[in-house]
């Protein structure tokens, strides 16, 4: 909800896009309060990049409405462009220019005064650990350096809303953590970040709110904890030595289900607390069922993701 303390940085309602018969976005609704990180999570082809392209004025929506930084996307695209910064999935740096020249190009295009632009560029080179490579052409940069330069270029104009389309795809773990640190620092400075990712741990790590996108539709939305909590995936897994024991256990534990992957396993829903475990074991003892192995599973975002996007019938389950 929009308030004066936290106006919406991005609002989207009923956003649609199709290419011919192929529906990419089937009515997307979003609200991102300013100063927060929103992560759109989805597999390849879920519609993440299309969403970013629409919100950054690169392509027109097929239907619905959206506003970014208080400006309507359809009627004031120039005002939107003035407020946003975009780091796309594919690097958008000039390979023939050096790192410093790339940044100075952005300073000039943002109409920063000469001295101010130089200062800002030096500052960003330092912040992104590119000072040593500043005089080398971007073509010679490693993948991680290019991403950092790309993001640094986005920041030259001090955008209020930043779009990052899969910012860490293809990066090594160290560059990935560096990118996460930068994102956190930006948010601390009051910037709003709209991030797409196919990595659950990344969304878990960075995002205030997560939207799970599947086939152009939000199938779930909430904080990482909310998403984990609402999943009925917490269970105790029991493994038996023979099918007879399993049948016995299934009889005395009517709430249990057979594991689809393993014929000798049963899943018993539960939160894995000591009390519930004790009562479970007591019951098995009471009926003299031998259990070979017992493991407790608490849901992580992977479970949420797979449960929500794996089976089309689950799409109706949405939390708003």
């Amino acid at each position: 909800m929009t308030t004066h303390e936290h106006p919406s940085a991005i609002t989207v309602s009923g956003l649609r896009k199709s290419y011919g018969d192929h529906v990419v976005l089937a009515g997307l609704d979003l609200d991102v309060p300013s100063g927060t990180v929103y992560s759109l999570l989805g597999a390849n082809g879920a519609g993440k990049t299309t969403t970013v392209k629409i919100l950054t004025t690169l392509i027109a929506a097929g239907g619905g409405a959206a506003s970014v930084a208080g400006h309507d996307l359809a009627t004031e695209p120039d005002a939107v462009r003035a407020a946003i910064g975009v780091t796309g999935q594919f690097s958008a740096v000039d390979n023939l220019l050096t790192g410093r020249e790339n940044l100075l190009l952005m300073a000039d295009l943002n109409h920063l005064p000469r001295a101010g632009g130089q200062r800002r560029v030096t500052e960003l080179l330092d912040l992104f650990d590119l000072t040593d490579a500043a005089g080398k052409p971007a073509a010679t940069y490693s993948g991680g350096m290019r991403r950092r330069l790309d993001l640094a270029m986005t920041l030259v104009g001090d955008p209020r809303v930043i779009f990052l389309d899969e910012p860490t795809t293809g990066l090594d773990p160290r560059s990935r953590r560096a990118m996460w640190r930068i994102v956190r620092e930006l948010v601390a400075g009051g910037v709003t970040i709209f991030l797409t990712t196919q990595y659950l741990d990344e969304a878990d790590e960075l995002a205030d709110r997560i939207g799970v996108l599947d086939h152009g539709r939000l199938v779930a939305e909430g904080t990482a904890d909310e998403l984990k909590r609402r999943l009925p995936g917490g269970h105790v897994r029991l493994r038996f030595t023979d099918p007879d024991a399993l049948d016995d256990a299934h009889r005395v534990l009517p709430q249990s289900t057979r594991d689809e992957d393993d014929a000798l396993c049963l899943r018993v829903p539960g939160d894995g607390s000591p009390r519930s475990l004790k009562s479970l074991i007591d019951r098995l003892d009471e009926w003299s069922v031998d259990v070979e192995e017992l493991t407790v599973h608490t849901p992580d975002l992977d479970d949420v993701f797979l449960a929500l996007t794996g089976n089309p019938t689950d799409e109706k389950v949405t939390v708003r």
């Binding site: 208080g70 594919f90 190009l105």
Partner: protein
């Protein structure tokens, strides 16, 4: 309603175009092999036509007394024009490179005067053509080109060449944008390279078979070459300059409108 909203700043097309021009000039300096290739090609054609074919062709166009020197004078304007077409081939290539590298997508999401992305290329290419033309004309003089034009003729010829370059560059900007790959962008302007051959560039059109002669006399490069030849050798021009300038206006306007339309289309890459 929101405190985020800021009024959009004004556009600065001149300033942005100057920035883009600086970028393109810097890229040319960083990628000198391209500029060199674009200059080398007309020079190679010049040497080929003057020293290999020149003796025979010279005798053919000027009677028995004429020879290689005569032909150097005849072919120089065509080679000069070829310098321009080579440069615009470079324009198409660098536009396509920009599009494949994704930096244009970045420019599209920025609050800048959009046309500056294209004007930066156009002005950069015109400057590159001036540079190449100076070198190629120098070579032409070395191999026997003896223009008789005075200062006025040279100024008119220079201005005319800039106009021709400007027109062809806009066409190349469009060709670079329709190309999905850099290779296509390098091939698409090829017909421009061929047209001087199918006109009055290398031999007079009246030596050609009827159909070809008809094409040669009406295609745009013939009046352009004739105008250039007339200006540089102080010959009467007739109405050729007006036809040439008319073609330039059509090509420039068509190229500009096509380029603008292509640039405004959605980023579907």
């Amino acid at each position: 309603m929101t405190t985020l909203a800021v009024p959009a700043a004004r556009f600065h097309p001149l300033r942005d175009s100057a920035t883009m021009l600086r970028r393109n000039l810097r890229r040319m300096v960083r990628y000198p092999s391209m500029t060199l290739m674009l200059v080398a090609m007309p020079v190679v054609f010049l040497l080929l036509f003057v020293y290999v074919f020149g003796g025979t062709l010279g005798a053919g166009i000027g009677g028995s007394a004429a020879g290689r020197a005569e032909y150097a004078n005849y072919v120089a304007p065509a080679i000069i024009l070829m310098t321009v077409t080579a440069t615009v081939q470079g324009t198409a290539i660098s536009i396509a490179m920009d599009l494949t590298e994704g930096i244009i997508a970045r420019f599209r999401t920025m609050h800048i005067a959009r046309v500056s992305v294209l004007t930066g290329h156009v002005v950069g290419s015109v400057l590159q053509a001036v540079f190449s033309l100076a070198i190629v004309i120098g070579f032409a003089v070395l191999v026997g080109f003896r223009p008789t034009a005075g200062l006025g003729g040279w100024l008119a010829a220079s201005g005319f060449l800039v106009v021709v370059t400007f027109a062809l560059v806009w066409l190349a900007v469009a060709l670079g944008q329709v190309s999905k790959t850099v290779e296509t962008a390098s091939n698409l302007p090829m017909p421009l390279m061929m047209l001087p051959f199918l006109g009055s560039g290398f031999v007079p059109t009246d030596s050609m078979p009827t159909v070809l002669r008809w094409f040669a006399e009406y295609q745009p490069f013939t009046p352009i070459i004739e105008t250039l030849r007339g200006l540089l050798t102080d010959r009467p021009l007739g109405n050729e300059p007006w036809i040439a300038l008319g073609w330039c206006a059509v090509i420039a306007l068509g190229g500009y409108l096509w380029s603008r339309k292509l640039f405004a289309r959605e980023d579907d890459r």
